[in-house]
Amino acid sequence: MPKPITILRVALFIAALVPAALLVRGFYTNDLTANPGDYITDQTGTWILGCLFASLSITPLRRLTGWNELIKLRRMLGLFAFFYAVLHMLTWVVFVHYFEVSFMVEDVFKRPFITVGMTVFVILSMLAITSNRWSMRKLGKKWGTLHRLVYVAAIGGVIHFWWLVKADITLPRRWAVALAVLLGVRLWWWYQKRAAAPAVARRAVTSSRP
């Protein structure tokens, strides 16, 4: 019998592939609406956030459940976020701009939601590239600092979505609430830890600042 965490890992792996599989199926059954480019862009965008937020919920879940092995799921979820980000970028390059570099450049510099989206893509790429053990060893403490950029990516992702909708902010608002919860618990824990630390130590920390 495999360990529960292994079963969970395999199940999540398959689940994370379902949205991509549905798009492939839709392509063959002609079920991606009359505007399939836009549809695929929307779907892949949604699943970047889905996977990214799932990876951000690992730490709070570990703390709440005490099940530390959950950490074994985090990298996989982050990489799936990157996987959908690559597809999302491809839809932009191919369906939106059809490889026209000048249009893409104009888009990035002229339209703030694209600027933000591109920034998020760059961050996710850096994190994906440095997600292996070798990079972790090589970067040492810097690895943790670098990977805190995931918060910037999550915030940027929600802003990107919010800025691109025409009227219906229902969906971006939901992501924003989820983001507030995920960041909020971290802030709360950080605040509690700080409050619990002895006053002397805290003073020492503050006075050491320039």
């Binding site: 609406t33 836009d38 191919v94 369906f95 059809y98 888009d107």
Partner: protein
């Protein structure tokens, strides 16, 4: 008044040539990324091989006259026109939502109120409203502000003929048109997605232009709910959102009405909303469009959606960048 008919544009002239020539390359490249190249050809054939059966089995409209104002471009398929369009009263977004959520919509009985600055105000049942006029087929290009387009065979009446009969007074400068409010029939009206009722307006000379119609049909049949049943506005040189749907009120007014999308986001949507490839939407270019169904932008957008010869005199001397 002399009405010039615009020269029809051959598709080989409008599709950017490099895009046109590379279309197969695209299909292969784009899909390979998604699915693996081997099985793609089969998939694409399935896409293009759909039956071209037109119409949706709705009641046929009688005695439709052809019009010289129609384009000779091939109309888009019925299934796409009726499954991909915006109608926020049913659902946000143009996917299948409006079609799926329009099941409870009933277009009968339907009353239209005519009021404001006119000598012949009144309330009409739809049948009586339509009766004095001859129905015409008008095959028009339809350009959505979201950069996609169709060619749509509408059936309707010239709005000018209705205006003549209503006898607007001298002070009337605009015609304001309003969509029905009924939460039972329009599920999204229970939310604050937009300000209800949906409102649109035209300058009276735009409303009187021979191209402007009130459409009651599509492909020779009555309009399906999601496309604005039973009666909607069609102004082919303007972005689609000007075409207010399921109209219950026509009001002659002195001041320029605030149309719904202008009220929602006045930096993005104006009163005029003329199709203009030179004036971008703040969040995307309007230079090109997707003639659906299509993965990519396969058409260059034309000034006034290709109706410039007929309508540009309406806007002589106006700054179209400011009056977008």
């Amino acid at each position: 008044m002399l009405i010039k008919k615009a020269a029809d544009i051959r598709s080989s002239e409008i599709t950017p040539k490099n895009v046109y020539l590379r279309r197969r390359e695209f299909i292969q490249a784009g899909s390979a990324a998604l699915a693996g190249a081997g099985i793609v050809a089969a998939g694409w054939n399935a896409w293009g091989g759909d039956a071209l059966a037109q119409g949706g089995g709705l009641p046929k409209l009688p005695n439709i006259k052809k019009s010289p104002l129609s384009t000779s471009e091939a109309p888009s398929e019925y299934q796409y026109i009726t499954s991909y369009n915006n109608f926020y009263e049913f659902a946000p977004g143009a996917g299948d939502g409006p079609k799926k959520n329009s099941g409870k919509f009933k277009a009968t009985p339907w009353t239209i109120e005519v009021d404001g600055l006119c000598n012949k105000p009144g309330k009409y049942q739809l049948e009586d409203f339509i009766k004095p006029f001859t129905l015409e087929e008008r095959i028009y290009r339809f350009r959505c502000v979201e950069a996609w387009s169709f060619v749509i065979p509408w059936v309707g009446i010239p709005l000018s003929e209705f205006i003549k009969r209503a006898e607007p007074q001298g002070k009337a400068a605009y015609l304001e048109m309003t969509t029905l409010v009924d939460r039972a029939r329009f599920p999204m009206q229970s939310t604050d997605l937009l300000e209800w009722p949906y409102k649109e307006g035209l300058r009276l000379d735009e409303a009187n232009h021979p191209l402007t119609i009130l459409a009651v049909g599509l492909y020779g049949e009555v309009l399906p709910a999601q496309n604005g049943a039973p009666i909607r506005l069609v102004v082919p040189w303007k972005y689609g959102f000007k075409g207010v749907k399921s109209i219950v009120r026509m009001r002659f007014v002195e001041k320029q009405p605030i149309n719904t999308w202008q009220a929602m986001a006045r930096n993005e949507y104006g009163f005029y909303a003329n199709v203009n490839p030179m004036v971008d939407h703040p969040r995307w270019s309007q230079a090109r469009e997707k003639r659906l169904p299509s993965f990519i932008a396969n058409h260059r957008t034309e000034m006034f959606n290709g109706y410039a010869d007929q309508v540009q005199s309406l806007y002589a001397g106006m700054d179209l960048r400011r009056n977008f």
